[in-house]
């Protein structure tokens, strides 16, 4: 490293892992063969029912929209190839839940290669909203892992962001999709950075890349002419590519779990996503394909594929000459944070960056956990400097308040602790489950509080109605009595009765309000008590 290397901040903890990246970088990116059938997921980010704009039996063109996006949160999807929609059905997809999601099944037509693209957009001349709209229309969501819709991320960053970060770290072993993309198409990726700089108004773009990717780095260096683009090389160490850790490594800002990077003036995007944005804006191409690494010792020709979204994973494995007799596990994503797949019939999704067809010695099945021996290895490697052993203890005993007090929320679920744990304790699984339990408990409490207010308001309304009814009755009685014997005394006493009843309701309401605010405080107090007791 020369003296010109600008400052980067080093990561606490972390682990050195065998990279296993060379296998899939032997040749250039291959174009995957057109499969006979595509299974295109049309799931929305909030799992709501998407508004489909195709029907079963309909002929679709390459690039034709499948989902009509009605809300700002919606995510578009397009037919990746021409063909006929043969089914709209739920199908298993490579996600952690393994639950089936709504997919549009297309029987492809290899003869029809026409592609209806949108016109290219001059992003310097168009207004910002038009450019974001183009990103939204192109159905781009984060290709790195989280899968958040890119247009939404851009909209919420408007006016807030000063630094753009291109995440090219790709720190997980086996993954080479981003590296391959940078080696061959660095120019497009950097064009994407310029587009994002224009949209967000950020003053600089920091490109974070690990030092074990010399060819990708060289490609970046040769195209990064714009003075706002700054390449920052960081040491290869897992998990340097986690959003918040990379932001810290490049800017020195540590962002707590309670804050979004955007609110600290930083917008972070993955290489694949930025590439897709560049294609959408400069060439009018919606997101129809992604680069997926097919690797692992059970495939004879590991490689990167440009695969259409919806391509069955089996097709890619066959093109890489998979040896099913040696195959022990299929993992989507990296070996540290990826998900084991039930079978190979699942489609490639936007987030499917890597498929590892592993043999048994390569990725051994999880072993039964032993008791914690308090070795402290986990605390040494935690990049967020948490105390995984303590967190495990609290998670296991469902001590939510104490787990939170030990910053469970800041855990990035990188799995470094579980990787080094000599007792094979599935630490991350405990943390994820506990986070989910805490979120659910919070939701429940918020719901209960809201319903309590609604119920009190309902009681209040009924009481007021009752008084009004009493008043009507009293007035009727007065009218009736006035008819019989004219006199003012009766009217006065009826008025008094009404005034007294209204005063009663007012007093009750005041007491009720006090109790309502009191009960909120009480739940906090109960929490505190619990904490100090334990």
């Amino acid at each position: 490293m020369n003296s010109m290397q600008p400052k980067t901040w080093s990561m606490a903890g972390g682990i050195q892992l065998a990279a296993n990246k060379q296998q899939s970088l032997q040749g250039p990116i291959r174009t995957a063969l057109l499969p006979p059938q595509l299974i295109v997921p049309v799931t929305q980010p909030d799992y709501s029912q998407p508004q489909l704009c195709v029907q079963v039996g309909e002929r679709v063109q390459k690039g034709q929209p499948l989902v009509c996006v009605l809300s700002a949160q919606g995510l578009a999807a397009h037919a990746p190839a021409a063909g006929i929609v043969t089914a709209i059905t739920t199908h298993a997809v490579p996600t952690a839940s393994g639950l089936p999601e709504l997919c549009v099944v297309i029987d492809t037509d290899a003869a029809d290669t026409s592609w209806h693209k949108l016109p290219p957009l001059d992003y310097m001349q168009s207004d910002i909203d038009t450019v974001i709209q183009r990103v939204a229309e192109s159905g781009i969501s984060g290709l790195g892992g989280a899968g958040f819709p890119a247009h939404q991320k851009l909209r919420s960053s408007l006016g807030k962001v000063d630094t753009l970060i291109l995440n090219a770290a790709e720190c997980e072993p086996y993954l080479t999709a981003d590296e391959a993309l940078l080696r061959e198409r660095a120019m497009d990726v950097l064009d994407g950075c310029l587009i994002l700089l224009r949209i967000t108004g950020a003053s600089r773009c920091l490109i974070g890349i690990e030092d074990n990717k010399p060819q990708a780095l060289a490609a970046l260096r040769s195209h990064a002419g714009d003075p706002r683009l700054h390449i920052r090389v960081i040491p290869a160490k897992y998990p340097s590519g986690a959003d918040r850790l990379l932001i810290h490594a490049l800017t020195g800002t540590a962002i707590p779990a309670s804050t979004l990077p955007i609110d600290c003036g930083v917008l972070c995007h993955n290489v694949g996503t930025v590439f897709a944005i560049a294609r959408a804006v400069l060439h009018g191409e919606p997101l129809l394909s992604r680069i997926t690494t097919i690797t692992g010792a059970a495939v004879q020709q590991p490689a990167n594929y440009e695969a259409l979204i919806g391509t069955p994973i089996r097709e890619l494995l066959l093109q890489s000459a998979v040896d099913t007799t040696r195959l022990s596990q299929l993992v989507c994503g990296g070996p540290m944070m990826g998900t084991a797949l039930a079978n190979a019939d699942l489609p490639v999704t936007r987030t499917a960056n890597c498929i590892i067809a592993a043999t048994e010695p390569e990725l051994p099945l999880p072993q039964p956990a032993q008791a914690c021996i308090r070795c402290g290895f986990c605390a040494e490697v935690c990049p967020v400097q948490l105390l995984p052993q303590q967190l495990y203890w609290f998670a296991r005993n469902r001590e939510h308040a104490r787990a939170l007090a030990h910053n469970l929320a800041d855990c990035i679920e990188c799995g470094a602790c579980a990787h080094v744990c000599p007792s094979h304790i599935p630490l991350v699984q405990y943390y994820r489950a506990t986070k989910a339990e805490i979120a659910e408990a919070n939701d429940k409490q918020q719901r209960a509080h809201h319903w309590k207010l609604r119920f009190d308001a309902h009681q209040q309304r009924k009481a007021v109605e009752k008084v009004a009814e009493e008043q009507r009755r009293a007035e009727r009685a007065v009218l009736a009595s006035q008819k019989q014997q004219s006199g003012t005394a009766a009217t006065l006493s009826a008025r008094d009765a009404v005034a007294a009843a209204l005063a009663r309701v007012q007093a009750k309401k005041a007491a009720g309000d006090k109790l309502a605010s009191g009960s909120v405080a009480s739940s906090n107090v109960a929490d505190d008590n619990k904490d100090s007791r334990s």
């Binding site: 008791a371 914690c372 021996i373 109960a526």
Partner: protein, 199 residues
């Protein structure tokens, strides 16, 4: 020290104690801790579905019954979690949910099949949180975000056009599970192992 010196020292000490007591009592009354009645503390742990399955007309009346010594296991929407919270608060043993009052089940939301509704307003009158919208002889509908899933509107509907449907789809309701017990390990910490237990 002279006896007078001792006397002054004791007086000073007493004065200090006085000041301390005064300060703490102000702090305690300011913090409002005393103001929260037991009924409200119990009520804050109940799910506020207001369904009446416990045999009381709402959660607060049930909270009152618990505070006066009633059983803590009569609330099906709260289920085991609520019973555990109540047991901790009151320092009483955890009990299983009393099946006489119902079983724990996933949260539901009421949906009116709107084209079948005759606009009789009976459901509006039954809803404990005013989550139903409509007027006489016109179609009614449920404001989903306000519905507690209490089930109280279903019975009064003369044309049976209200369905109770799950509040979340399986995908929306999915969460990371706890580790497979087979992988979870025998005792949390090796040195905590009880003598004589084999692992």
């Amino acid at each position: 020290m002279t006896p007078a010196g001792y006397f002054i020292a004791v007086l000073l000490l007493l004065a200090l104690v006085q000041v301390y007591c005064a300060v703490t009592s102000i702090a305690v009354s300011k913090s409002g801790v005393e103001a929260i009645s037991m009924v409200d503390q119990v009520n804050a742990l109940l799910p506020q579905t207001q369904c009446g399955q416990c045999g009381h007309p709402g959660c607060k009346p049930y909270a009152q019954s618990i505070v006066s010594g009633g059983p803590i296991n009569k609330c099906p929407p709260g289920g085991a979690a609520t019973i555990a919270d109540l047991a901790t608060l009151l320092g009483v043993p955890v009990q299983p949910l009393d099946p006489e009052h119902g079983v724990e089940s996933p949260r539901n939301i009421a949906w009116i099949r709107e084209d079948e509704c005759i606009g009789c307003t009976k459901c509006i009158q039954a809803c404990p949180v005013d989550a139903i919208l409509g007027s006489a002889k016109h179609m009614h509908t449920v404001i989903v975000s306000e519905c507690t899933g209490c089930d109280l509107c279903v019975e009064p509907c003369p044309v049976d056009c209200i369905d109770m449907l799950p509040a979340r789809t399986p995908l929306q309701g999915w969460d990371w599970p706890r580790p497979d017990p087979g992988l979870a390990g025998p005792v949390p910490v090796a040195t905590d192992r009880m003598p004589g237990t084999s692992v």
